[in-house]
Every structure is written in C-alpha cells, then in structure tokens.
C-alpha cells in the first residue's frame, strides 16, 4: 500500500498541537511580519502517528535482522542508552548555561574522554567533531596547524587507494594535494611505495586500520616511524576500530590522530543516516593544536576552555572551533553507557567476537564466492569478496545485493573498496549469534549456486518482496525533483 505525502493529505487549517491563547501585546516585529502563507500542511495527531508508523514499516533496520553492511558496523543499539540519553539532566540543559549548573554534564564528557584516551593509548582527545568525516577534518586541521606552527608549509598528503572517499575529500578540503599509495597484492599498504613517496613536502599520511579490505595493517608501526622520520604525521581513519578495541592501542602504533565513530564502535544508533559523532584522539605531538572547546579540571570543579579562556591565554595553540557548542552530547551519553556496560573485558570481547564472526563468514563462503585476500591471513571484522565468481553469469554485485533483500537481509556494502572489482564487503559485527550467521551463510551459498546455475531473472529483477521494486536512480538525477509541488492538474482546477 502506498503512503501519501503529508502534503497530499494535510490541510492548512488542521493542527495536531494545542497551544495556549496568545496574549494581546504591542507587537515588535518592525515590519517584517509574514504576509503570505507558508503553505505547510497540518494533520491531527492520530494521522501523524499513523503516517510515520506506516513509513517506518517500509524500512529495514538492525532491530529486524542481520545488517551486514561492511565498514558501517551495524550492531545492536541497546535501549538502555536511549533511556539514559533522555535523562533530563543530560537532555534538558542548555549549552550556554553557567558552568556551575552543568558540572555533571561536563563530568560525563570528561569521563568519556578518559575512556577514549585510555583505549587508544593517546594523551588527548577532541570531543566536538560531529561525525567521522568531521573528525577526519579535525585531525587533518591539527596536522596542518602543527606544520604551520613550525613554519613548515607542506603540501602533500598520502592516501592509500583503498581509503574511504572522505579521506581524500578531507585532505583536499584542507588544501592538500592528495597522492595515492598503491596496495600490495595482499591488500595492504605498499610500505616500499609509501617510503618512496615520503619527502619534505609530505604533511602526513591517512591510513585506515584495519583497512577497508578487512585487513590489519601489520606494518603500521613501520609506516609511522618512516613518516615521523620524514617530518610528517600519521592520521588513522578509525572507522574500523571495532575490530581492535581492547586488543591493541593505536597510540602504540605511532598514530598521531584518529577519529572514532561513536556510532560504529560504540553503538550510538545510525538513525537513518545520522547524527554521528567523531571524537579525535591525539598524540602528544598534535595535542597542543586540538580544537575548542576543552574540558579542564579546576579547583572549583570542571571548567570549559572556550574562546574566552583562549583569549586569556589558555590553550593558545588550538586551531579553533569546529562547531557551535560542545559536540554531540546525546551521543556521548549513549556511547559512555555502552562502554560502561561492556567494561574493559567486554570491549575486548567485542573485538574478538566481531573478528571471529567475520572470519567464520569468510571461511564458510570462500569456496562459493571469491575472497581475493583469503591468503593474506585472517580478516578483521569484515569479510571482503570480489565479483570474480560471477564472471560469465551476467549477474552483478548489485543484483546479488538486491536478491539478498528478497531473502530478508539488508545487502552488504557494494562496490567498495574500489581496489577490488565488484566488491562485496560483509561485516556481521559481534552482536550476531552463530545461528544467525549460519542462516546467512546458507542463504548466500544458495544465492551463489543459483547465480552460477543461471537463474538470472531471480537476480536481474530483484527485489520482488520489498515495499518497492528496483528504483530508477538515473531518472532521479537527470531531472531532480527534491521537493513536492502540487500536480499541475490540481493547480489548474483551483
């Protein structure tokens, strides 16, 4: 059943909100009063509840089943975290209240910062970045600020070809030239090639570890040493921190800055595409350049270091402010709740179970699908397949993804990383049971066999059992329709 748009069912007269009467006062809008309708439809509350309830039922979500979207770490979102994030003491305080009235909130930020620094083995953390890509920007700005402080205007940043698109985009945003580092046939950064590119104009490297091929960069420490020796800094994309949390500390690998996606490793809900949260840990070398605001423990409790304090001489090296206010407080509460629930032992178990689940999937499916790096050692928390096994079938990675929908699964990540042809990146996460994995493996095997057996229609036409059939994305981009407008017929009739 189709769901009408609110613009097709609401009216300007209807409202689903009751408000007290407006007192009669002398208005002071100075001639800026609205004089035309906004043309916004309203609905009574029952209709609003139904509209969005029915819309929700057209979505797939972790709460419904396995969501093996590689690199996105779609794990269980505990409801405890939702509950504590809604405590009025966190949810109902203003970012500019006098600091004395929000000591508990600042304590929470400081506590979360302590957990993040400890797990990473790094001395400083910037809490304010709003998402992973924003964290990357934060890290790269710190690198650029550090070089600038030394009067050393370097121009190049090295980025492996397997990197997330945000890496080169971020480096470019900071005014750097992006230089690509090739991968070895084993799917890791080519250390020799990297060393060859190092030089006095290289500001740093951006390395994802574990990388997007699902492998641990076993030579990262050597890379770091080489980069440091060349006067550069090491930025680590922490999107895959889930695989190693509690097993190894990035600080011990020579990393200078790394963002942490609280919505991945620490399970704050993705919410259909945000909000995220991307704190960045820093080495001692970069710590002085970290952005505002900052938490500091003073004699009379927690203090916030903001523009005012900087003006007064504190934290002078900071490259400035990345965002209004203090970052994603709502996500901080959820992440800390998640971390406290797991504790040091549980977080280590998270990494172990995530890696075990991914290796289990990889080994069970490598005979039916192509695992290009199967010989490169164990994978971390993602299992990467290429589309080589589909050669000659006329079936693509996209078709496989859509056929998975018919089997009741969210598809894995498609066509990423770019270093593998027709990539399929499967990340089960640690919150899947063995029974779920076995069922998933059975399904994937059956699909692989059906594909090889030439059942093309089942794939080309998929999905059959979704709220909608395959959507025409090309038409959408050709003549973009981004907002609703009244159909011409209806307009004419008025």
């Amino acid at each position: 059943l189709d769901e009408a748009l609110i613009f097709e069912v609401g009216t300007r007269e209807t409202t689903g909100v009751d408000l007290p009467d407006v007192p009669d006062v002398r208005m002071r809008l100075g001639g800026t009063e609205r004089n035309k309708p906004i043309d916004l439809p309203g609905l009574a509350e029952p209709e609003v509840v139904r509209h969005f309830t029915r819309l929700s039922r057209m979505n797939y979500a972790i709460d419904m089943g396995v969501f093996p979207l590689g690199s996105c770490t779609m794990k269980h979102n505990p409801r405890l975290n939702e509950k504590v994030a809604r405590l009025p003491g966190f949810a109902d305080i203003h970012p500019l209240q006098p600091v004395g009235t929000v000591q508990g909130a600042i304590e929470l930020i400081d506590t979360l910062a302590f957990w993040l620094k400890t797990l990473c083995g790094m001395p400083e953390v910037a809490m304010s970045p709003k998402a992973g890509a924003h964290g990357e920007l934060c890290g790269m700005l710190a690198i650029r600020a550090a070089h600038e402080a030394k009067g050393d205007a370097r121009k190049r940043v090295l980025v492996p070809e397997s990197a997330h698109g945000t890496n080169p985009a971020t480096a470019a945003f900071c005014g750097y030239d992006v230089d690509s580092i090739p991968a070895t046939p084993q799917g890791r950064v080519d250390l020799a090639a990297l060393k060859a590119k190092l030089g006095p104009d290289v500001a740093g490297v951006m390395i994802t570890n574990p990388n997007t091929c699902g492998l641990f960069e076993s030579e990262l420490k050597d890379i770091s040493d080489a980069v440091h020796a060349a006067g550069g800094y090491v930025y680590c994309d922490g999107a895959n921190f889930n695989a190693i949390v509690g097993k190894v500390r990035p600080g011990d690998l020579g990393v200078d800055a790394m963002h942490i996606n609280l919505h991945k490793t620490f399970s704050t809900p993705h919410g259909g595409g945000g909000p995220g949260s991307g704190p960045v840990v820093f080495s001692a070398a970069l710590a002085p350049y970290a952005p505002l605001p900052f938490v500091r423990k003073g004699d009379e409790g927690y203090e916030l270091v903001e523009e005012e304090q900087v003006a007064a001489g504190s934290h002078k090296g900071s490259f400035g402010r990345m965002v209004a206010f203090h970052g994603q407080m709502g996500m901080f509460v959820r992440a800390l709740s998640y971390m406290m629930s797991h504790g040091a032992d549980g977080l280590r178990q998270v990494a172990e179970d995530a890696v075990l689940n991914a290796n289990y999937v990889l080994r069970q499916l490598e005979d039916d699908m192509t695992a290009p790096f199967a010989e490169s050692g164990p994978c971390m928390h993602e299992a990467l397949f290429s589309d080589e096994w589909l050669d000659g079938t006329g079936i693509t990675t996209l078709d496989i993804a859509k056929a998975m929908i018919d089997e009741g699964y969210h598809p894995m990540t498609m066509y990423f990383p770019l270093v593998v042809h027709g990539a399929m990146l499967v990340e089960p996460t640690e919150t899947e049971s063995k029974a779920n994995l076995d069922a998933f493996i059975d399904t994937m095997r059956a699909l692989a066999r059906a594909a090889k057996a030439g059942e093309v229609e089942r794939f080309h036409e998929a999905p059959f059992y979704a709220p909608l059939r395959r959507l025409d994305e090309t038409a959408a981009a050709r003549k973009p329709k981004l907002t609703w407008s009244e159909p011409e017929v209806a307009k004419a009739a008025e």
Partner: protein, 456 residues
Amino acid sequence: MRYLPLTDTDRQQMLSAIGAADIDTLFADVPESVRLDGPVRELPPHASEMAVERDLGRMARKNLTASDAPFFLGCGAYKHHVPASVDHLIQRGEFLTSYTPYQPEIAQGTLQYLFEFQTQVARLTGMDVANASMYDGSTACVEAIFMARRITRRKRALISGGVHPHYVSVAKTLTHFTDDVLDVHTPVLRPGAPGDDLDALIAAIDEDTSCVVVQNPNLFGHVADLGALASACHEKGALLIAVVTEIVSLGAVRSPGEMGADIVVGEGQSIGGGLNFGGPYLGLFACNQKHIRQIPGRLCGETVDASGKRGFVLTLSTREQHIRREKATSNICTNSGLMALAFTIHMSLLGEAGIRKLAALNHARACQVADRLGALPGVTVLNDTFFNEFTIRLDREARPVIRHLADKGVLGGVALGRLYADDGDIENCVTLAVTETVTDSDIDALVAAYEGALSC
C-alpha cells in the same frame, strides 16, 4: 555480556570450523609487541544495567535542568515544547536502527520523510529546495560560504557582526587553510537595533565579494528586512546567505527567500529537538533550484520503481565524497537523519496553523518579558524590534549577575561575555529568549531575581 550472543561453545565451534587454534590466531597480524594481553587495566569491568543507570543518573542529577528553573537562554539553542508523539515515533526501531538509505527498496520510510523534510524546509525558508540536513547550523553556514565561492568563483565573504560568534569561529577555522577570505564585522550594539550593520555591509560589497552572511533574527534578537541588502548583493553579483538560528521565527517573520536570500542556512533544533547541551542538532540548508548541483550534503529525490510506482532515492550523489573523492563539494558523509525526522514529525503536527500560533505566542511572551525587565532600574532593553529574543544592558558586568541568578535557581539569559571574550561594552549585556514554555510565574521569578541582583 548481555549484548553478545556468542556462547563459549559457539566460539569453540567456530574457531575449529575455521581452523584456528584460539582467538589470538585471528589477531596474528597485530604485532605481538603491541598486542594487549588482557583487558585494559585502567578501566572497570562490565556493569549491569542497574549500575550504569545509577552512575549516569548520578551525573545527570548534578545539572540544573531547563525545566527545573525559570529558563530564558537562547543564542542559538532554544527550549520549546516537543509533543510526546515525536519522541515516541523517532524511537521506532525501523527508524532509529536503520542506516543511510543506500538501498532504497528497503528504506522508503527514511527516504519519504527526507523528501517531506526537504519540502517543509524549502517552504519555511521561502526557497526552492533544501538538502536532507547537515550536522548543525554552524557547519551549514560555512558550507554555504564555500558554495558561494564555487558559484561566484570569488573568495571574499562579508560576515555581519550579528552572526552567532560560534558560527563565525567555525567559519574562521574552516577557511583558515582554504583560499577563502573572511571579512567579519565587529558587532555594534546600536540602541534600538543591536547588531544591525546592514548599511555597513551594503557599503562593503565589492566585485570580489562572493557572499554576504547575515543572521535574522540576529544574535542579539534584532529582526530586520533584508530586502535592500539582497538587492545590493545581486547588483554586485554576490550571493546573500541568510542564517536563521531560531527557525520558529519563520512562523511570524517573512522568510529570507521572500526577502531575496540566495542561500538560507539554519539551526532546526527548535522544531522536534531538545536542548541536549548543544548536540545533536539539525543543520538546515536551502537554496534556489539553479544551484542544486553545488549543494553540499545529501539530497533525496523523487523517482519511480520498475513497476512505475512513485518512490524516493538519494540523488545527485556525483557531488559527494564517496563518488568524487577529493573533488567532492564537501567531505560530509552524514546528515542529522533522526533530528530531521523529529523536525518533520513536529512540523507535520504543527502545520501552518500551529507554527504561526506558536510563533505568535513566542513573540507575545517575549514582548511581555521585555516590558517587565525594561521597567527595572539598572536595565535597558536595547531592541526596538525582535522575535522571541532580545538584549538588555545592565548597569554592571553581566556574568556575575547571571551566575548569581543561577545560584537562586533562575537561568536568566546568556551573558554576552560568555560569547565575546574581549569586548568592554558587551560584557554588561545579556540576551534573553522567551518561548511558549515560559509561565507567568517564571516571569515573576525572573523579574524578582534581576531586581534582587541589581539592587545589591
């Protein structure tokens, strides 16, 4: 561990299925020298729900909440009443625990509300189109400056002194290493029209100006007609970027689009969102149809499925980092999906009638408070015009007064010394916001508290 379904038996079976002796075999690529041999020692072990709730509850209780005090803070974050159904609906697992709608066939719920959201934002701001939201108002603002540069191929952005100082800081930080040049005007607390520098801005526009950034209502609450500024911009080939931090104002004030703005950015937290100590918030971004291929961030568009039914998809992704990498319009990869949902739900409940009454109520309450405070000795109301926020000058430094009020349990506004560290005159000023949540007794308590603080 309640969130981890594998049993020890499962783990053993799986290890043997993959031929690994133990779990550390799978971590063999992590050099042994850095591999931790057990749980990180400085952190506590796992805890029950009860224990976590108790610990976090203890921290939460140390804060004075906006509902526990007469509350008058604004400056970019506003306390409004959010209907209970909003929070109920956004917690449905199908919304909360879903991902970016890359697989549209099983994400029509998210995509359709984004399409509705884009339409609502476009109509409210008076623009043709809007994107699917950004991190917050401050980051949306700097993205607009970049977009203006891309469109005009000019580098100089003029920024009004009435723009939120955090937004200005963010713009400064993010343009520090780019080619952009920011010309930031210092705020002038003109009696009657604090922060109004429209004439100065008009005078400063030149052939190299990519855009003028102006906030309306501005940080000090002053509200103005931007028409003349828009014309001046357009005459010189510059774009007008309007910032709206209190989106409820658009229920009463003409939209920036009607006033001639080319890009409207804003903070949407007021609709559907709580205060949340500053985040997550909701960046709004709207512009005219002709610039859509320069918009940063995610866009949702209408299309059809294989059987001809209407559906929605993410579109124009060739602008984005996952396709264009270093040539993307922005490195942004996340929106504020869930806050956008809350906005869409709340706005669907309000509708035209609701948002207009809500705005009228905010304005009327603010007028009442301005009149009451203005009558106190030692207090001067600077604004002749405002929406739900205005600025007062005290006869002394404001920050100790605000702290004194807080000690008495009254959150009496934002002392501007908190936002403008180094200005003399501004240190005596306070900006107050008054919304529909304020009661008569809150107002009485506020007035009494100021009276008390200023009489000693």
